[in-house]
């Protein structure tokens, strides 16, 4: 169920502005890869290119190659909608659909793509909520609005919604930045379990979090404001945090800048 991502020499543009330059990396299946780096260095932008979500913003485009196993995500025959069904995403702020119940939120991705069978939906909703460690908390109030849950529960609801469409890869864009430490811990535990089934890429501003949850860590930076962001290095998390190759990484990790 999980796939490898291979990125070769990727540039990301918004209009004529080059936001990210020359990124090449491999993301292993069934592992957690964390992106760290200062604000505005292009981590989130690069993350969004992995499921073509950057195209939602007018003028967003890329040069380079992103392969999901042997599929080219940017091949001209590739439909962005198909890409997003394969590569799911969880956002910074929990964003359950406000008009929908907890059940409908989880079922949304399937229903909107035409799955109607009640039994199938029931099964997947339960399985996804269990997968997101939310089932025991909400199983008695599935018909209540999703927006009525706490922030941490809403974020797990969004994770359940994302895994309900059974993607190969799960992208998480600072999923804990709007949450308290307890909810953060719950999400981190969840990430640890989810990596058994999915390839996970997580953007975080919290370096302890990167150290706790990820197998590999990529450090992004930009030379100066106005310059495009770039990948400084990617390596095993233990190596990045203990003995990074690049001086810039060490400076950032040890808090000397950023």
């Amino acid at each position: 169920m999980a796939k490898r991502i291979d990125v070769t020499d990727l540039n990301v543009y918004y209009g004529s502005f080059k936001a990210v330059e020359g990124v090449s990396m491999t993301v292993e299946p069934r592992s957690v890869t964390a992106f760290i780096g200062p604000s505005g260095c292009g981590k989130s932008t690069f993350l969004r290119t992995l499921n073509r979500m950057h195209e939602v913003i007018p003028g967003g485009r890329v040069e380079g190659k992103v392969m999901l196993d042997d599929q080219d995500l940017y091949a001209s025959s590739m439909d962005p909608v198909t890409v997003r069904r394969t590569v799911g995403m969880v956002f910074q702020r929990p964003n359950p659909f406000p008009t929908m119940s907890i059940y409908d939120n989880v079922a949304a991705g399937l229903r909107l793509n035409g799955v109607k069978n009640k039994k199938t939906l029931d099964g997947i909703v339960e399985q996804s909520l269990k997968g997101a460690n939310l089932w025991t908390e909400v199983k008695d109030r599935l018909s209540k609005p999703g927006a009525g849950l706490s922030g941490g529960q809403q974020q797990r609801l969004c994770i359940a919604r994302a895994i309900a469409v059974q993607p190969q890869v799960l992208l998480m864009d600072e999923p804990c930045s709007a949450l308290d430490p307890i909810s953060t811990l719950a999400i981190e535990d969840l990430v640890n379990e989810l990596k058994n089934d999915f390839t996970i890429v997580i953007v975080t501003h919290n370096m302890q979090q990167a150290a706790r949850v990820s197998d590999r860590t990529a450090f992004f930076n930009l030379k100066a404001t106005g310059e495009p962001g770039r990948l400084v290095e990617i390596d095993d998390t233990t190596r990045i945090f203990n003995n990074p190759t690049e001086q810039a990484t060490e400076d950032y990790i040890s808090g000397r800048f950023g």
Binding site: N51, M53, V56, P58, V81, T82, V83, R84, R85, T86, G88, M89, F91, R93, N95, P96, F97, P98, T99, A108, G109, L112, N113, P145, A147, G148, C158, R161, A162, V165
Partner: protein, 321 residues
């Protein structure tokens, strides 16, 4: 408001070579008494603002209450007569008492319903295009056109339809022709209100749907329109209320009849504003005047009823917390 700060500023500035005022030297008392002044000034401003706002509120409400009071006082009697809700004005002269308004009520509802049937889909789809799809030249042109349309006086809209429908195409005047003019007046109201409601839908919801692999059209229909539903309903009702009492297009395009007339496409057409206008002509006669007030109250009640219905629909479709 800033006087206190300004006054203190020179004291607080530390000039090199000089010592600043030692703490406790000039003492906290001056500071305190200085502070109480702006507080009093604030209290005064607060009172002034309160008075002004209440005055504005009363000024806005007085005419409303006055109109409602007059119309209810003078027209209510008419609504309690047996024939008002069932009959029409056939064979009832200006100096005859009573008669019914059913022909006009039905006519108004039928005409406005027909107007909404055409204007609501066009208006909502235009707004969806402008907010969700429109970029660049075409969208700007459409938006500008809607702006112009919303500034068109109703009599101009009526004359335009007259020129096209009656003069150029050679059709006769009818309820349908009036409805066409009302469509022109209703579309910009619907477009603008729907646009505002669609813009209120957070972008995160659209992104959440895209990230689930939902195509754009499904996102717009099932997420965006669904989330904005109750606001859109309110906008539609505003549009209906706007055209329901519109009279100029009726004067020009839909001549009044005292009879039941359910054919929108041929012949004269009864409506409440035209009934009011008819009886206004013989206002000196108590019988006609009473009918006029009755018809006015009926029209107000009709708008009110539609608003209540809309509120109920909006309530059940609203975003639940």
């Amino acid at each position: 408001m800033s006087t206190a700060t300004d006054r203190r500023a020179p004291d607080d500035k530390v000039v090199p070579g000089e010592t600043s005022t030692p703490p406790g030297g000039r003492s906290g008392r001056d500071a305190l008494s200085e502070m109480s002044n702006p507080h009093r000034a604030r209290a005064v401003k607060d009172v002034v603002a309160k008075v002004v706002m209440w005055a504005a509120f009363v000024l806005a409400v007085v005419p409303l209450v006055w109109i409602l009071g007059t119309v209810v006082a003078k027209g209510f009697h008419m609504l309690t007569t047996a024939t008002w809700w069932t009959g029409n004005q056939r064979n009832i002269n200006s100096d005859d008492f009573g008669g019914g308004a059913r022909h006009a009520i039905e006519g108004t509802l039928q005409m406005v319903g027909f107007t909404a049937l055409i204007a609501v889909p066009i208006g909502i789809l235009t707004a969806v295009y402008l907010v969700e799809y429109g970029r660049g030249h075409l969208a700007r042109t459409i938006s500008f056109t809607v702006d112009i349309l919303s500034g068109v006086p109703s009599i101009v809209a009526a004359l335009f339809i007259y020129a096209v429908w009656v003069t150029a195409f050679g059709f006769s005047r009818s309820g349908f022709a009036a409805a066409l003019a009302l469509v022109l007046l209703m579309i910009p109201v619907i477009v603008r209100s729907t646009e505002e409601m669609l813009k209120l839908v957070p972008n995160e919801l659209r992104e959440a749907a895209y990230a689930l692999g939902v195509p754009k059209w499904a996102t717009v229909v099932k997420i965006v329109l669904r989330t904005a539903f109750s606001g859109i309903v309110t906008g539609v009702l505003l549009g209906i209320a706007r055209v329901m009492g519109e009279t100029a297009p009726l004067l020009i395009l839909a001549p009044y009849t005292k009879n039941f007339q359910r054919d929108l496409f041929n012949g004269n057409f009864p409506t409440l504003p035209m009934m009011i206008n008819q009886d206004r002509g013989d206002f000196a006669l108590a019988t006609a005047a009473e009918r006029m007030w009755g018809a006015a109250l009926t029209l107000i009640l009709l708008v009110l009823l539609l608003n209540v219905i809309g509120r109920v629909i909006a309530h059940f479709g609203a975003v639940k917390k």
